[in-house]
Symmetry: C2
Subunit: 275 residues, 2 copies
């Protein structure tokens, strides 16, 4: 019996002949409108770090700047550990694709920190909101246009994509249960991708579907390997809210908890919108 | 009559003979425990971008990774516009200092996005909390150890530094009115520094003063030049809250409004703590 690889594992496949230099290929299953789903691009950058032979510790923070859309095809990830301390390591990354003349063009820049974590006094200071469980919410039927939406199971609690684009919006809060489809045991890369799962807050706030795209995304990882393993293929509750919509850009604040109520990651992004 | 330069302008003084390469010097007035106040380091990186002859637009986002403490003395800022689009520009930055043998060592990495912003539909979705005005709160007397605290006027509304380190803490919310001391008209660099003004959330949450230091800071700029000018030397209301304290690191979410209630910036950081 052979098992088919999960589409996320296919999308994150990187090969390397030089430490810090990785070759990958965009995956049709995670295609968005004009490039790959940004969450998979973030996960790909993290994957390069995790593959690096000199890596110290687990992901702590990741900032991804979407400088230009990745074209369908091959790309190169560069991941450089620019400074390694006793328990933290600082990374600078970029994704490159050749232009029409074959010259490398930067499509994405990033920085990251990995860290060796020790058990300390800990407390969650943002409890998971009291919401109905994942199976009490119907899953969204995939297919509002982008292929990547079919790679996730989404069960909205509140703040779904507006059913009418009538300008009636009055808030920007979405809460939804989410996981990979088909289910896949959670790891740091999948978590990074899930942090970018939310549709643009401006669509909800305005009930108007204007062009929008993430410019910069930051993920802070709070989960340990053990917490990820304990989460397994369970659902995450994701919460996203806009804070300020101003002259072409809004910011989004995100929290992700597992079903047991443990905060696995917090995330933020600044997003371009038109009109 | 000659006027003395403001200490922040002194601290942000950079000279350059090559575009993208800037020489600066740490300023004793902004000294923290083992290096400069992190907010001034963020402001210095932003200053390098603003001085660059190829810059497009105003600051939109800035992420600073504190890889190692800056030593007292000279440093070099490298600021490279790695990709320029029609209305956004993506920057990669670093700060370098020579080690004992004179070899350059990276102390700080950063990325930033600048953008040409156009007037669009806009709305604030996180109103300023109803708090008493700045002059109704007494200013903190400077001098709990670090020189840089004397460069800011801070008028706490709630969540002051605990008066007793007795382990009695039960929340991590601080709200305070703040501005440069002496007063200085607000600009993007000063705003970046103010985003890092808060004492470590872990001190408040635990009422215990454990070693702590920012690892990575992100600032999203919502303000226009006109809003900064309208704010002038007025106070900002800053709000900071921890979300998750877990195994040596916590994250902090920050909002900054001017007295008129306009959201000027939102910010986040992940912070190391011991024990």
């Amino acid at each position: 019996m052979t098992s088919t690889p999960h589409p996320l594992d296919e999308a994150l496949r990187l090969s390397s002949t030089t430490p810090g230099q990785y070759e990958g290929h965009t995956h049709p299953g995670y295609w968005n409108m004009v490039g790959p789903f940004g969450g998979v691009t973030a996960a790909t950058l993290l994957r390069a770090i995790l593959l690096h032979p000199d890596r110290l510790g687990d992901p702590l923070s990741l900032t991804v700047n979407y400088a230009g859309a990745l074209a369908e095809g091959a790309f190169t990830v560069q991941a450089v550990p620019v400074r390694t301390n006793r328990s933290t390591q600082h990374w600078t990354l970029s994704i490159l694709q050749p232009d029409a003349e074959g010259a490398p063009v930067v499509t994405t820049t990033a920085t990251a920190v990995t860290a060796v974590r020790r058990e300390t006094w800990s407390v969650g200071d943002t409890p998971m909101p009291p919401v109905p469980g994942p199976l009490e919410q119907p899953a969204i039927a995939p297919g509002f246009g982008s292929e990547w939406l079919g790679r996730y199971e989404m069960r909205p609690v509140t703040g779904s994509v507006p059913s009418a684009w009538d300008g009636s919006g009055d808030h920007s809060l979405t809460q939804l249960w989410m996981r990979d489809a088909p289910p896949r045991p959670l790891d740091f890369c999948a978590l990074a991708a899930l942090a970018d799962l939310f549709f643009p807050r401006i669509w909800l706030r305005r009930a108007r579907r204007v062009p929008a795209g993430t410019v910069s995304l930051t993920v802070y990882f709070h989960a340990s390997q053990a917490q990820l393993q304990a989460t397994g293929t369970g659902y995450l509750l994701g919460q996203a809210r806009g804070q300020e919509f101003r002259n072409g850009f809004f910011d989004q604040a995100v929290q992700l908890w597992n079903e047991a109520g443990a905060m696995l990651a917090t995330s933020h992004q600044i997003v371009y919108y038109k009109e």
